[in-house]
């Protein structure tokens, strides 16, 4: 269905315009802040708007099935590249998630001291790129956003980071860049193959799905896609950029990285890599299982050894992403819907934890576990939220992560019991480091500084927002899961 208002384009360009305006207003920090927040809120409203429209509408000519919003404009005709955007249930959820996380990120960076306008402007630009990625139905466009995301992120880590920001940001960039360039080659190869077969040279994803790829070549092409996505995911053993980048990035940067950028990789696997190469993906699935399970356990184990909270959470984050990979690898409706749900939940929970670590860091000026202790006695409200998010991350039922992990595991168990068993083992390891984190921060003797500021109104609003979502998705994830149903049926029945 194409509506009169080009919502999809607006979703991409609104943040970009916002970024420009905020950049223009960067001299006045407060104006920039409020403007950024306004744009964030507007984007969120816009992202939620499709919830109100009829999503079951009859298919129209030229619109691929399953997409209830669709836009198609010519762009680079020489290569058959079109500015094609489409929204189905999966993208809708991702778009809303992106808008939500960005708002959290904007509020969380309310107190950035240096060059705040620029910072917020980059955040908005990043949001625009991520939204574009989730909406694009043209592989070239997808790739463009995939890479364009890197630039704001590069600056966010490098300019406002702590520790060794330059090292981290360049490492992050190079890692992802190597993968994506190989993916670019694969995309071109696929494009050429499709063109040679059908005579129509196009990057349109729905069309490319009908390409017949020889098995051997398919393995290589899928391998390139997989490599690229696995780096961004990140999957074991391609992860070493991640702890550094997460650690050294500023709060909002970590938030965007952990909550959104890693999701783009999972989204790419679900939307592009698996449907494009059904045979090759089946052949390489054991590999994905192995790295996913290995990742879940290994990262959980390594997380236990960390002293730096942020690094611990970084490993925790990537450990949880293993469930997403596992669900995708199983490629059954239940497992993939679980993986998608896990993407949402991971974004919320891990994001919340990173925000909280940011708050603790801001107060105690340290992220070392040994500098904390007895926080519960000092700032009970903060501690309360910290506990909730940690428990969500540990998979306590009633909170969000449990639901998705259960769905993934049940789904995977059906297909690959051994992999699921490994992941179950991982859930014990997860609890071990989580309670360690909780214990060393919240419990024990009160450490210096004895007085910490309690949660402010601004922080509180963010935390409440996140906690409500955590609980809501834990007890009533139905609406979100419903959104995944129709697109997954289309994707998996191909």
């Amino acid at each position: 269905m194409t509506s009169l208002i080009p919502i999809l384009s607006l979703l991409i360009f609104l943040p970009l315009v916002g970024a420009l305006l905020v950049f223009a207003l960067r001299q006045s920090a407060s104006a920039a802040r409020w403007l950024a927040l306004a744009f964030g809120a507007a984007e969120f409203v816009l992202a939620c708007a499709p919830l109100a429209i009829d999503r079951q509408g009859t298919a129209q000519v030229g619109v691929p099935t399953g997409f209830f919003l669709y836009q198609d404009h010519g762009w680079i005709d020489r290569f058959g590249i079109r500015f094609t955007l489409g929204m189905d249930g999966i993208s809708l959820v991702m778009v809303i998630l992106t808008a939500f996380i960005t708002i959290v990120a904007i509020i969380a960076s309310w107190k950035v001291k240096e060059r705040q306008g620029l910072y917020l402007s980059l955040l908005l630009a990043l949001q625009g790129a991520v939204q574009g990625l989730f909406l694009s139905l043209d592989l070239f466009l997808f790739y463009l956003f995939w890479e364009a995301m890197l630039i704001p992120m590069l600056f966010l880590i490098g300019v406002w980071g702590t520790g060794r920001p330059v090292y981290s940001t360049i490492k992050f960039f190079l890692y992802t860049f190597v993968g994506s360039l190989l993916m670019l080659l694969a995309i071109i190869a696929l494009y050429l193959m499709h063109g040679a077969q059908t005579g129509s040279y196009t990057f349109a994803l729905p069309a490319l799905m009908h390409t017949t790829v020889p098995y051997q070549l398919g393995l290589w092409l899928f391998g390139a896609f997989l490599l690229s996505f696995a780096i961004k995911f990140p999957l074991f053993p391609l992860h070493t950029w991640q702890p550094d980048a997460y650690c050294d990035a500023p709060v909002a940067g970590t938030l965007m990285l952990a909550s959104l950028l890693s999701k783009t990789a999972a989204y790419g696997l679900i939307r592009i890599a698996y449907p494009l190469f059904p045979e090759a993906s089946r052949a390489l699935t054991p590999l994905v299982y192995v790295v996913a399970v290995l990742g879940i356990c290994y990262f959980a184990w390594v997380a236990f050894a960390q002293r730096d909270m942020k690094r611990m959470l970084a490993y925790s984050s990537v450990s949880h992403m293993g469930f997403v990979a596992l669900g995708i690898a199983a490629w059954s409706p239940v497992a993939v819907s679980g993986a998608l749900m896990q993407m949402v939940n991971h974004a919320i929970t891990t994001g919340a934890l990173f925000v909280m670590v940011g708050m603790l860091d801001e107060r105690a000026e340290s992220r070392d576990l040994s500098d904390f202790g007895g926080v519960w006695g000092k700032v009970p409200v903060l501690a309360f939220f910290f506990l909730i998010f940690n428990m969500a991350s540990a998979g306590v039922p009633g909170l969000n992560n449990f639901v998705s992990e259960l769905i993934v595991l049940v789904g995977v168990f059906k297909v690959a019991p051994a992999a699921a068993l490994g992941a179950f083992l991982g859930s014990v390891l997860t609890l071990i480091y989580t309670v360690r984190l909780v214990q060393e921060v919240l419990f024990g003797k009160e450490s210096k500084p004895t007085v910490l500021a309690e949660v402010s109104l601004r922080e509180g609003s963010v935390l409440v927002l996140l906690a409500v979502v955590v609980v809501y998705l834990g007890v009533h994830p139905g609406p979100v899961l419903d959104l995944f149903k129709a697109p997954l049926e289309l994707l998996l029945n191909k």
């Binding site: 940001t169 360049i170 190079l174 190597v178 360039l181 071109i188 494009y191």
Partner: protein
């Protein structure tokens, strides 16, 4: 010479006359008006060429206003105009007086305008050598630095040897085919060996102009020694001119199987070596020189395909590379004052103390690294697209991996600009002419990056 002929070849006439005029009246005029004359002449030539329909036949013997010329002349004019704009402030700061400088730039432009119009090998050769010749002079023009003269001599020595090779190549081809006219000089099967020998020597000469490995070694020295605006001009237009020459020759001769392996070797070596050698450079101009080696390797990769797509990719990439390097060297030159600012560490924090120039430099670096949404990405995409289409899969993979490694040294500059706590002393504000040039270059990078359609069409037209 009839009026029609003049009409067609007006760009050549304008630039040639402008060069002479500047040379003659130079002592009487202010340096700013010399720059103005130069820029106006370049712009006029470019605009004229861009909006004139290509003539199908030779206007005068040896010259024809071809579609290729219609694309390349505006490109060269653009580069020359930007170079003049950039040089104005730079030369004033460095006390490089005299009419010789703008006149030589215009002479180079004149030769460049002749090059794509040439219809026989003699004109082609002379135009190419004139371009080089102008650059020998321009490189050594900075009398304040010994490096400048040194670079000039090295360039000249290497260039003369390479010219001898090129000429020898032409000589062998002529001996084999019996004509200098491009359109008729088809390889005769019985003389294939001589012609292929000629091509072998010729390609090496061209490898020098394009600075492909192993004929690349002069590049870092010359870029470092040359005044920055000259380096900008040299790294862009002279390369594009050489690429255009190869394109013209390859376009008229059927692709020869013998040449694939040497060209492939040159291309791979350049991509890998250029990108690797640039990794640890501390001098930004040398770094850009090695990067230039690598980029010419990409160009050679596209040339190697021997297909229309490949040639289109060469032209597109040439245009994009022109914009990128003009921006990069332009930013460097506008940030240089009494001393040439050439160590990468000299740029610490410049992104904040001189936002426009720092931003342009960062944009150029990002574009050179080939990250969307900049023009560099489109160029790289087209190159690798044509390579894959031409079946050069292994080369494409090597190229793309070396391109990935290249991101490191480009980002190092960006990191230096924005991501270090300490700050280099703030530079003086940017002058109008330089600002204009920088904005023009970066606008091109962004516009082509987002909407390359028109340029692609122009490239296609140029090859028709």
């Amino acid at each position: 010479m009839t009026l029609t002929e003049l009409y067609c070849l007006l760009p050549i006439v304008i630039t040639g006359c402008a060069a002479l005029f500047v040379l003659l009246c130079g002592p009487l005029l202010l340096s700013s008006s010399l720059t103005a004359i130069g820029v106006t002449a370049s712009a006029a030539a470019g605009i004229w060429a861009a909006f004139t329909a290509p003539a199908p036949i030779q206007c005068i013997p040896g010259l024809a206003f071809t579609p290729l010329a219609q694309l390349l002349i505006p490109l060269f004019s653009f580069a020359a105009a930007l170079t003049l704009l950039l040089s104005h402030g730079y030369n004033e700061r460095r006390i490089l007086k005299g009419e010789e400088y703008p006149a030589t730039v215009l002479f180079a432009l004149f030769a460049m305008c002749v090059l794509p119009c040439a219809t026989n090998m003699l004109i082609l050769f002379l135009a190419l050598e004139s371009v080089s010749f102008a650059f020998y002079i321009l490189v050594s023009m900075d009398l304040n630095r010994a490096e400048s003269g040194e670079a000039g001599l090295k360039y000249l020595l290497m260039g003369a040897v390479a010219a001898a090779f090129t000429a020898f190549g032409f000589a062998l081809i002529f001996t084999g085919s019996g004509t200098l006219a491009l359109s008729a000089a088809l390889a005769r099967p019985e003389n294939r060996a001589i012609i292929s020998a000629g091509w072998g020597v010729l390609i090496l000469g061209m490898a020098f102009k394009l600075s492909l490995v192993p004929a690349h070694l002069w590049t870092p020295d010359v870029y470092q020694g040359a005044p920055s605006p000259v380096a900008a001009f040299l790294s862009t237009s002279s390369k594009v001119a050489a690429a255009a020459l190869l394109l013209i020759l390859l376009g008229h001769f059927p692709p020869m199987a013998e040449l694939r392996a040497p060209l492939a070797a040159l291309s791979v070596l350049s991509m890998v070596l250029g990108n690797l050698a640039a990794l640890r450079q501390t001098n930004i101009k040398r770094m850009l020189a090695y990067s230039s080696v690598a980029h010419m390797g990409y160009l050679a990769l596209a040339l190697l395909t021997g297909s229309r797509d490949g040639y289109a990719a060469v032209l597109l990439y040439g245009a994009i590379y022109t914009a990128m390097n003009l921006a990069a060297f332009g930013a460097i030159s506008s940030l240089s004052f009494e001393e040439e600012r050439e160590q990468i560490t000299d740029f610490t924090g410049i992104g904040f103390t001189a936002p426009v120039r720092g931003g342009v430099l960062a944009l150029a670096m990002i574009s050179l690294a080939g990250i969307p949404p900049t023009a560099g990405f489109i160029g790289k995409f087209f190159i690798f697209y044509s390579a894959l289409k031409g079946g050069l899969i292994a080369l494409a993979i090597v190229g793309i991996l070396s391109a990935a490694a290249s991101a490191y040294f480009y980002l190092r500059v960006v990191a230096q600009l924005y991501m270090h706590r300490s700050e280099a002393p703030a530079p003086k504000p940017v002058g109008f002419a330089e600002g204009l040039a920088l904005c023009a270059a970066s606008a091109c990078i962004l516009i082509i990056g987002v909407y390359p359609g028109p340029l692609l069409e122009m490239v296609e037209t140029a090859l028709r």
